[in-house]
């Protein structure tokens, strides 16, 4: 198929325009974090560094950041273990109910977050009589993070060379040794990429979190939501917003690098 120059130009213009529109709001937030108007009037009447100083001096904010990181790490670890086990099972065996299990993994992200959140809230509180806490948030986050690890590992396993495992067994290695020396190195990069995605997914999550967090548990997204409507707090929220976007660039870079290595 030949794409005429004019068609390519039109497509290029549309793509650039949409991408510009995607970045415009984020740039506005960046500029507003230096805007010296309390209500973020546009154009900014003047610029200041006050909000940045205030944000990093806020104890509540730093505590929320710590909570988010802790929850994201725990949820990612659970997701890494369960996602890898599932990917190994579904790629290496044919069995009854395989398709249903595949559907079960994607369901937590295919259904709206509010359904997942409400279902778990109801199960924890009404059915099990549990108090909502940080543990309930971790359980909920791990549930929808499994799929990111599972997808990455499954894709990697489908391209991995099965003969190596057979060779390892023929040479006398047991199932654990083969996994440690042959399978694990092959899926290592997929685990890193899947784990980073799971971390980011959990770190950013707000809907399921509001339904499963105990009253004392404040994650960073909950902090942002609580402070967004408070008078005078908006500029500090801008600073947090800019910082979280900047922080997300680092794992993105690594996930990209590892997925590209995985694809080789």
């Amino acid at each position: 198929m030949r794409i005429s120059r004019s068609a390519a130009l039109v497509l290029g213009v549309i793509s650039s325009a949409v991408m510009a529109a995607v970045y415009l709001p984020l740039v506005i937030v960046l500029i507003n974090s230096f805007n010296n108007s309390m209500n973020m009037d546009w154009p900014p009447p003047g610029f200041t560094l006050d909000w940045w100083v205030k944000a990093f001096g806020s104890g509540g904010l730093m505590a929320a950041l710590g909570t988010s990181v802790l929850i994201a790490i725990c949820a990612s670890v659970v997701a890494l273990i369960l996602g890898t086990l599932l990917a190994l099972a579904l790629s290496r065996y044919k069995f009854f109910g395989q398709e249903s299990i595949g559907l079960m993994v994607i369901l937590p992200i295919a259904l709206p977050g509010i359904v997942t959140g409400l279902a778990l809230n109801n199960a924890f509180r009404t059915v099990l009589g549990m108090q909502l806490s940080m543990a309930t948030v971790i359980i909920a986050h791990a549930t929808f993070c499994i799929v990111t690890v599972y997808n990455n590992v499954l894709a990697r396993l489908s391209r991995a060379n099965r003969n190596l495992e057979d060779a390892s067994a023929d040479l006398g290695a047991g199932v654990f040794t083969t996994f440690r020396l042959i399978t694990l190195p092959q899926i290592g990069s997929a685990l890193v990429a899947g784990g980073l995605l799971a971390f980011a997914l959990s770190f950013d999550e707000i809907i399921v979190t509001t339904f499963t967090a105990g009253s004392g548990v404040e994650t960073l997204p909950i902090w942002i939501l609580n402070n967004m409507f408070r008078p005078g707090k908006a500029p500090v929220v801008d600073v947090v917003a800019v910082t979280t976007v900047l922080i997300s660039v680092v794992p993105l870079y690594f996930a990209q690098r590892f997925t590209r290595e995985t694809a080789k």
Partner: protein, 302 residues
């Protein structure tokens, strides 16, 4: 396993670990069971069981004095979904916004994905792929908040539109729809881009050799191949909009979507059975949707 077990030619020392390993090696079914036990236990018991309990809770009621959920079986909550005008208005509004957002996102995503995959050189493609991914990683709240600044009466949109004699849509349903469409766009672009990357180039050449014009090739060769990817993208945009209640709080003014009704019933009203009954609506819609697209293979593209 141990260092002295690998002496050349010698019989391998039978450690307990080695015995377990040999047993597992000879019992493929047991290996499978051990692998799937934990994940299936988690997904089945934590997730599927919770979903089922939610369905059941919709048919319970609450004690009017204590506010606790009580096991009194009744259809009141579920019938009220059909009889209460508020519920049907909000449901239709939510479905309308979700459909609109999904369609607009697909229309925007197709040319971008096509440009990335078939027009741009490898360098531009990489830059575009990263620029599409980056906002996906920017926090959901940050994006909603960014639009709150943009749409505000004193915000940048008003500043741009005022000289043209126009006004910002402000905090309204339209404002919420723009924001939602903005947030889910990367989720729609990526699967479509992935699908286009898998379209073999020689198929397109064959089509043009046989006399098909560009548009015919797109319609009769490319679109049928990438349909599952388009559907995969639409599942994200549609499902994410269907359950949203935070964006509409931030940029939607006083308007409500289904998610708001569910949230109020969990929080302020403390009526879990009613919240569960309301949640049946998005669940039913998504199951019909997922069920009807299952055959296209879209679910493997998620």
């Amino acid at each position: 396993m141990t260092s002295n077990s690998s002496v050349a030619g010698a019989a391998i020392a039978v450690t307990p670990a080695r015995r377990v390993s040999s047993y597992l090696y000879n019992h493929a079914k047991l290996r499978l069971r051990l692998l799937i036990a934990a994940p299936v236990f988690w997904l089945g018991l934590v997730y599927i069981a919770s979903l089922l309990m939610l369905l059941i809770t919709a048919f319970w009621s609450i004690d009017e004095f204590t506010g606790n959920t009580k096991v009194i079986w009744n259809f009141d909550n579920v019938t009220s979904l059909f009889t209460d005008a508020l519920y049907s208005t909000v449901t239709l509004r939510t479905i309308g916004i979700a459909l609109g957002v999904t369609v607009v996102d697909i229309l925007l995503a197709l040319p971008i994905a096509f440009f990335m995959s078939k027009v741009a050189g490898p360098k531009v493609r990489n830059i575009l792929a990263i620029s599409v991914l980056l906002p996906l990683w920017a926090s959901y709240l940050v994006k909603a908040y960014a639009w709150r600044s943009v749409l505000s009466n004193k915000g940048v949109l008003q500043w741009i539109l005022e000289p043209l004699g126009l006004n910002t849509p402000g905090y309204s349903l339209f404002g919420a729809a723009i924001t939602l469409g903005y947030m889910w766009l990367p989720y729609v672009i990526l699967p479509i881009f992935g699908g286009l990357e898998k379209v073999p180039g020689n198929l397109l050449e064959a089509s043009s050799d046989l006399g098909a014009k560009t548009f015919t090739t797109i319609r009769r060769v490319i679109l049928p191949i990438i349909l599952p990817s388009i559907i995969a993208g639409s599942i994200f945009a549609f499902s994410l909009t269907l359950g949203d209640y935070i964006t509409i709080n931030i940029v939607g003014g006083a308007n409500q979507m289904l998610g708001n009704l569910i949230y109020t019933n969990v929080g302020t009203a403390n009526n879990l059975p009613m919240a569960a009954a309301l949640a049946l609506i998005p669940i039913a819609i998504m199951f019909v949707y997922l069920g009807s697209v299952r055959r296209t293979g879209a679910l493997n593209n998620l």
